[in-house]
Symmetry: C2
Subunit: 251 residues, 2 copies
DNA sequence: CGCAGAGTTGATACCAGTCAACAAAAGTGG
DNA sequence: CCACTTTTGTTGACTGGTATCAACTCTGCG
């Protein structure tokens, strides 16, 4: 009843009312110009967990942004093995994997029930060509997606299982903080198997890693509920040093 | 003397005369429009091996394309450890790592003496906004760079040392073929240490991997000179199946 | 000729993958 | 609503691949 009405309002609300406005494509765009972008954004009905936004080989028709929920992009190699290329939280663009060839190299899969905005790519390119600020913001969000890919590589190369897991939890926390949610208490939208796949580990190793962090009092784990109890220790394990140790001067 | 004149001619030659034209930014751009792009491209004097195009933290001022030679982009983490994020052959864009934040996350380093075109980013964005075909091609080359990053992840995750090395050699061969050079006989522009770093292995493991491939008659190795003797076997080791082995029926 | 850097090869230790059994949670149908 | 099944996650024992340490060779170069 009341909730249904709210949901409809939510779906109908445009970019100007969206809480992600400053993190998403509209960031830095004037209120006047925003309408042009808003006009081409399709707000779809909720997608169920496991549902796909696009499949391997599909021609690139649109880019997507989650309003809530979470997604994964999965590459399938010739042997049919799956490789999770990225996880996508609200405000992060999905579907850029098709930019190079015009066809998707990955499948975009909802991890949980989610709401998503769909932006037809040809219209986006057309509007962006007329709005330099959108053009610039588009480049920025693409660049941020590249940055996340590089962070992913950084997690994989020459890091122990424990470091990868700590880095993963730290990174996820930061991304939740970025969208205004708690960085120290959250529910993982993905399974242990997904995490293992993403980190290049066996799922048993991920499970053991979580247990170890739990034993050591760094986090509390209960299934997919995570609470970070000792942020500093988690950062240390992840080799992330922030303002805390400001003495290490930078040039 | 004579050589100096030749070099100047080389440097002065525009995109229209460049052998990489169809692989680089100008691809798909009409001869008329090409001049506008050509006007903003700076062709620099050769850079020496080890020289840097940009450093960590530099504001993004330009993107670069090698005309010949080879480059690496190296991320430096807070502990001062280096992580090679990518190798760049002629025609591949360098410097896109700054798109997200406006500042370089990596250093762009020449592996050998090389010639490079420099395209000031603000001018590029300005011209691209007026030329839809350039705009489109810019998106494509950015997308291809993302594709290479994903291939990199694919090399790292859940693959044995032997597979990574085979995949690396295979991929390098394909990239040389793409720019019109031999895919089965080439000189590695990077050291064993660089390869190891890129593949997330110890340099000794890379050396052993090369020796193993040599023993097995798959490649001939002499320092940095590589000759692929058994392409099919190399592909098999890399889990790359092309039209060749159609008998291995797939569901 | 000797030196420094790059690459190769050998011996050893240990981290993480694999196999296996179990436990808990989430669906499913009567 | 409860028994059953299926999925998901945890824990243990064992093994193997790769990092590490170390010695050595080769190459180019001043």
């Amino acid at each position: 009843m009341a909730s249904t009405v709210l949901d409809l309002n939510h779906v109908r609300r445009g970019c100007a009312q969206c809480s992600l406005q400053q993190l998403c494509l509209p960031a830095g765009i004037s209120a006047g110009d925003l309408q042009q972008l808003d006009d081409i954004v399709k707000r779809r009905r909720p997608v169920a967990g496991g549902e796909r936004l696009f499949r391997l080989g599909d021609p690139m028709s649109a880019v997507y942004v989650a309003r809530d929920g979470a997604f994964k992009t999965v590459a399938l190699n010739e042997d049919g093995e799956e490789q999770i290329v990225g996880f996508h939280l609200p405000g992060e663009l999905i579907g850029l994997d098709a930019l190079g060839s015009g066809h998707h190299r990955c499948e975009g899969v909802a991890l949980v029930e989610a709401n998503v905005c769909e932006v037809p790519y040809d219209l986006l390119a057309h509007v962006a060509a007329q709005l330099p600020s959108l053009q610039q913001q588009l480049m920025r969000v693409i660049g941020q997606s590249v940055d996340r890919d590089q962070d992913h590589v950084g997690m994989l190369v020459r890091r122990s299982a424990g470091e990868r897991i700590a880095l993963f939890l730290h990174g996820l926390g930061e991304r939740y903080r970025h969208i205004g949610q708690s960085a120290i208490q959250f529910k993982l939208p993905m399974s242990r198997e997904d995490i293992a796949n993403y980190l290049g580990l066996a799922l048993e190793t991920v499970s053991r890693g979580f247990s170890k962090l739990h034993e050591d009092g760094v986090i509390a784990v209960s299934g997919r509920r995570i609470e970070v109890l000792d942020t500093l220790e988690l950062n240390r394990l992840a080799h992330v040093h922030e303002a805390v140790d400001a003495k290490r001067g930078r040039a």
